[in-house]
Symmetry: C2
Subunit: 227 residues, 2 copies
């Protein structure tokens, strides 16, 4: 479903080149459950941004469900980001002056969902991450973990089939982290594709395949034995 | 050294009151090594903000090295935040348009350190967190873990005796996380006071005392047995 071929991402800093990804290839099928791990700065978020159509490679190809992403127009890309893919950012990226509720309903506004339905779906997503009593707060009036959960609710509200979550439990206590992982596990059982970045081994063990990056390259790609 | 007595912090949201801290008391001596844990939203960052003189309680007292913080003037508070306390924020709070180097040297500018010395001290802090080859990048040109490490370098550059670190390893892979904990352990051995918020048990075990919060109150406060 997601096919990255020889993808490189290079940033030019004056005369210095930063090779965030170096000719990486990765093939992900529908309904896979993948954890991406690796040292700080190894290219995980960069790879997630390419997979999520948020960033274009410097070279190489990315085929999303058989289509070459670099050949898509802006409308196609916007629709993919809005409806097909749910993206949880490492730094949340919530709108600071809007409430949790409005942040979560925004993807539904973009997809043209009527107001009555938006309210139901947004409140459902907010309830699933345990933020019902914070729905009228703005991000600055939330704890770090509450912001993270608002970002998760927003990513799931349009019921995307591909979920990209960059450190979704990094700011959560163990109990809340397990609740979020239960949501992701349930989405996987329901047939969706789950790709998450984590640095915690117990979180990675929810996945069926672990891809490790190092210095912008794939160091290993294994399916651990399941009990 | 740090004495919180019956401190409450209440936010008014229209007619609803959010009790972030509810009459909390905590006594921390010099050279203690404390981990604060607890569920998302339980008041950890709020407590850190009070301890770091970044936020004033709604009621109760805070004595920092014997002095009532509420009676201090702005100059005294600025000096405490700049020189006595090093604060690593849960959301980093770096200046987005400035390089890592400038972000890290800023506390030295405020403390009146001469330029030549600033360069040495800032580069030393940057090297200790492994960011030497990212010193000219801006925060938007860094990975999540690199931003976290820049925030740590900035917190340590003025050599404060009290270090408050809110989830300092939340965005770091295990190896880099251990390097940061080695820095904090070393600072503790050197006589400084270390207070960190974490949701990870292995990180908390570096501390000599674990305080758990729940719903804005202290649920437990223990010194685990040391081997
Ligand atoms: N400015 C604010 N206005 C209203 N409520 C707030 C504000 N800041 C924080 N809160 C609330 O106070 C409570 C405590 O927040 P705090 O940030 O201290 O939690 P925390 O323990 O650090 O959580 P986390 O582990 O998620 O970072 C939360 O329920 C939060 O929603
Ligand atoms: N806009 C940019 N300009 C220059 N370099 C960049 C930019 N964005 C990222 N980088 C560099 O690319 C490399 C990969 O970054 P990336 O964010 O993908 O790492 P990561 O694996 O997600 O790290 P972390 O675990 O710390 O979040 C890093 O070394 C980073 O400094
Ligand atoms: Mg990252
Ligand atoms: Mg917090």
């Amino acid at each position: 479903a997601l096919e990255i071929q020889n993808v490189s991402k290079t940033y030019m800093m004056g005369t210095e080149a930063v090779h965030a990804l170096q000719s990486v290839s990765l093939s992900i099928e529908e309904n896979e459950y993948i954890a991406i791990m690796g040292p700080s700065g190894s290219g995980k978020s960069t790879m997630m941004n390419v997979l999520g159509c948020l960033d274009t490679p410097t070279s190489g190809e990315y085929y999303l469900e058989g289509e070459d992403v670099s050949k898509m127009n802006d409308d196609q890309l916007a629709e993919i980001r809005n409806q097909k893919i749910g993206f949880v950012f490492q730094t949340f990226n919530l709108i600071p002056r809007a409430t949790v509720f409005h942040n979560v309903e925004l993807p539904l506004v973009y997809s043209g969902t009527p107001p009555a339905e938006r309210i139901l779906m947004a409140n459902d997503a907010i309830e699933r991450v345990g933020l019902t009593d914070r729905a009228t707060h703005k991000p600055t009036e939330l704890s770090g973990g509450q912001r993270q959960r608002a970002a998760i609710a927003r990513a799931l509200v349009n019921k995307p089939t591909i979920i990209l979550a960059d450190e979704p439990t990094g700011n959560l206590d163990s109990v809340t982290g397990r609740e979020i992982m239960a949501i992701l596990d349930g989405l996987h059982k329901a047939g969706n594709t789950i790709i998450l970045v984590t640095h915690e081994q117990e979180i990675a063990e929810h996945a069926h395949r672990i891809v490790k990056l190092r210095d912008g390259q794939v160091e290993s790609d294994v399916r651990p034995n399941r009990v």
